[in-house]
């Protein structure tokens, strides 16, 4: 109950003063912090789409697997999730690369419908496989800083969420640097712009697809690791993030990394404000309404799709 007291103090102040902007500021901050995690999940989705034009409907389940990987590694080693991220990302990169090479690669040149059906099948398989192996009960990864928070006036910033936000943006920035500053990154971008011409430059597109899928999955899993200090780990934990990532990617322009980051922050704030000022149960409703509005009025996204940086 003690952890709830700042919130209740805020709401009491709102009643007495009427014009207090604290709930609004708090909702925006909460939304931005969540938006950072959404950005990481969505950047992974968008790099996969941007490179091989495949919509990965299993993306949320890779977030979930990242959470479970963190949970199990933590229970064996007792290490902090921020350390375990260095193990989870390579592991999930390999897993993602294997999934790409063994399954996704077979449908790379098929219509979207076929690709979606395949990744949907992978999604259901991973989710219910996790359910079968580990059961439905929520599991927590305890950290010493789980309840720590910074205060700026009346606005409260929970430390684990701030860390997750900063690490997420750092990883997105590293990806951007990789794509623009390294030869391998340039090869990846070349493949995304024109696979046929990339072949003429001596680039093997299949290798680039495996690389892009591995990176996308590693980023999704990293988001999963980062959220373990404040979200429970369970088989359906990724569903929500997968859906959010689709909305973000469409909003940001499909295949556009900067757009995905900006879109994620917009979505985070939209969700948070709907939850705060309309109804908590309807926060996702606000997100989906925004999604449908984007499809109607600006289907290419707020920045414009098609470019991988």
């Amino acid at each position: 109950m003690k952890t709830l007291s700042p919130q209740s103090r805020n709401s009491r102040r709102q009643v007495t003063q009427g014009m207090d902007l604290t709930p609004f500021a708090q909702a925006v901050v909460n939304g931005l912090l969540m938006g950072g995690l959404y950005a990481l999940v969505a950047v992974g989705l968008t790099i996969i789409f941007g490179t091989m034009n495949v919509v990965n409907f299993a993306h949320g389940e890779f977030v979930m697997l990242g959470m479970f990987a963190t949970y199990w590694l933590h229970s064996f080693t007792g290490l902090d999730p921020l350390v375990l991220i260095f193990a989870v990302m390579p592991l999930m990169f390999i897993f993602g690369a294997l999934v790409q090479r063994s399954l996704i690669q077979r449908v790379v040149s098929d219509p979207h419908e076929t690709q979606i059906l395949l990744t949907l099948g992978i999604s259901v398989l991973l989710m219910n496989g996790a359910l079968l192996l580990w059961g439905p009960e929520p599991r927590a990864v305890p950290t010493p800083y789980a309840f720590a928070a910074l205060s700026f006036g009346a606005v409260r910033i929970p430390l684990p969420r701030l860390i997750a936000f900063l690490v997420a943006l750092l990883l997105a920035a590293l990806l951007w640097a990789f794509l623009t500053r390294t030869d391998l990154g340039r090869a990846l971008r070349a493949t995304s712009e024109n696979p046929d011409w990339a072949v003429l430059m001596g680039i093997d597109p299949v290798k680039m697809y495996v690389l892009a899928f591995g990176i996308g999955i590693a980023l999704a899993a990293a988001a999963g690791t980062l959220m373990t200090p404040f979200f429970n780990t369970f088989p359906r934990a990724g569903v929500f993030f997968g859906m959010i990532a689709f909305v973000v990617v469409v909003l940001g322009g499909m295949g556009n990394i900067l757009g995905a980051v900006l879109g994620a922050l917009v979505i985070g704030v939209t969700e948070s404000l709907t939850g705060q000022f309309v109804a908590l149960d309807l926060s996702m409703f606000g997100v989906f309404v925004l999604f449908l509005l984007v499809l109607i009025f600006k289907p290419t996204g707020i920045i414009g799709g098609g470019r991988l940086y």
Partner: protein, 339 residues
């Protein structure tokens, strides 16, 4: 189509007859089946196959013939189911009228998805349907004053009353289900032979080429989706009274959407009989898996669906009906040869 590929024109008429007789024979067997006094479990299993076959047929109109992947058919089903259930429970309105309201709701839902997304190329329609399905589920859970939220609707049994579509025995539900399945098959047959069907086939093949020969993409896809939604809403309405209990997780979740898609895909998308074959395979298979692993939330049947989906997409994307087509033609030819 099958008659055309044969050389001698004289054999055409002879072959066409068994081609018509065999489905009629199957129908006669299905009509007579309850007379053999099977136990209720078998009747209910058959009824489930009929209803899910009809859902597969409905999905097939837009997802199969038009190649537009819809993951919103659970919500369209729910939009047919909820108004019917609510009107019957609260106001005692017959499902025959309530079903019309449900069909209307499903059609409006279809327009809300189709209008913004059908103008776009790429995976937007599939993504839009996913979002719509979630919106419907969230709203059904949220407006619990009307929908009872997660508790769901229980349709009370008010005695044997054909007007309420409530019967004390399983047989009438069986025939009702069979009638709806026939309607679904008929809709698929009519669409496949119509101008719209050819437009849809062109769109499925290549949207740009279809547009360049003057096909109005948005209107054609929208028409097919509306027809599909109306049929789905109708099944939702009848199914509600049959099963007597609906809740957002069972009628508006993505799992049901996947099940509907799977039925069409296993059988063969874009074929008249594919969804019927798909339901005939998938529904008993689900029963077997539930019996072996329990029907709880442990997701064994969903693992089965997932594996089937992956295997079919990778190895037999045109569905299992492809494997039956040749033996069926040989059978037809043999019957014709003897006759």
């Amino acid at each position: 189509m099958d008659a055309k590929s044969l050389p001698a024109a004289g054999r055409k008429a002879a072959i066409r007859t068994p081609g018509n007789v065999l489905p009629l024979l199957l129908l006669a067997v299905l009509l007579a089946f309850p007379l053999a006094d099977p136990d209720d479990y078998l009747l209910r299993l058959a009824t489930n196959i009929f209803y899910f076959g009809a859902l597969g047929c409905a999905w097939n109109l837009i997802g199969g013939f038009g190649g537009q992947l819809s993951l919103a058919h659970a919500s369209l089903f729910a939009l047919g189911a909820y108004p019917t259930g609510l009107l019957l429970i609260n106001l005692g309105v017959t499902p025959l009228l309530g079903g019309l309201v449900g069909i209307g709701a499903a059609v409006l839902g279809a327009l809300a998805i189709g209008y913004p997304t059908f103008r776009l190329r790429g995976p937007y329609f599939a993504l839009g349907t996913l979002a719509f399905n979630e919106i419907t589920r969230i709203l059904l859970l949220y407006f619990r004053d009307y929908t009872r939220g997660p508790l769901g609707l229980i349709v009370p049994f008010k005695g044997n009353n054909p007007l309420n579509l409530q019967f004390s025995t399983a047989e009438p539900y069986y025939y009702l289900g069979l009638a709806i399945l026939l309607l679904g098959v008929y809709a698929g047959y009519r669409v496949s032979k119509s101008r719209m069907g050819y437009y849809l086939a062109a769109i499925r093949g290549d949207q740009d080429a279809a547009e360049s020969i003057g096909i109005d993409l948005t209107t054609t896809k929208l028409k097919a989706l509306v027809l599909s939604a109306a049929l789905t809403g109708l099944v939702g309405a009848f199914y509600t009274v049959y099963i007597a209990y609906i809740d957002p997780e069972s009628v508006a979740s993505i799992d049901l959407s996947i099940k509907i898609v799977l039925i069409a895909i296993i059988g063969g998308t874009g074929t008249v009989w594919g969804p019927v074959l798909g339901a005939t395979i998938l529904i008993p298979l689900t029963e077997v898996s539930n019996a072996m692993f329990g029907s709880g939330k442990a997701g064994a049947s969903l693992i089965l669906y997932a594996v089937l989906l992956i295997v079919i997409v990778l190895f037999s994307p045109r569905g299992l009906i492809l494997w039956l087509e040749r033996p069926y033609r040989v059978l037809l030819a043999r019957i014709a040869g003897k006759g």
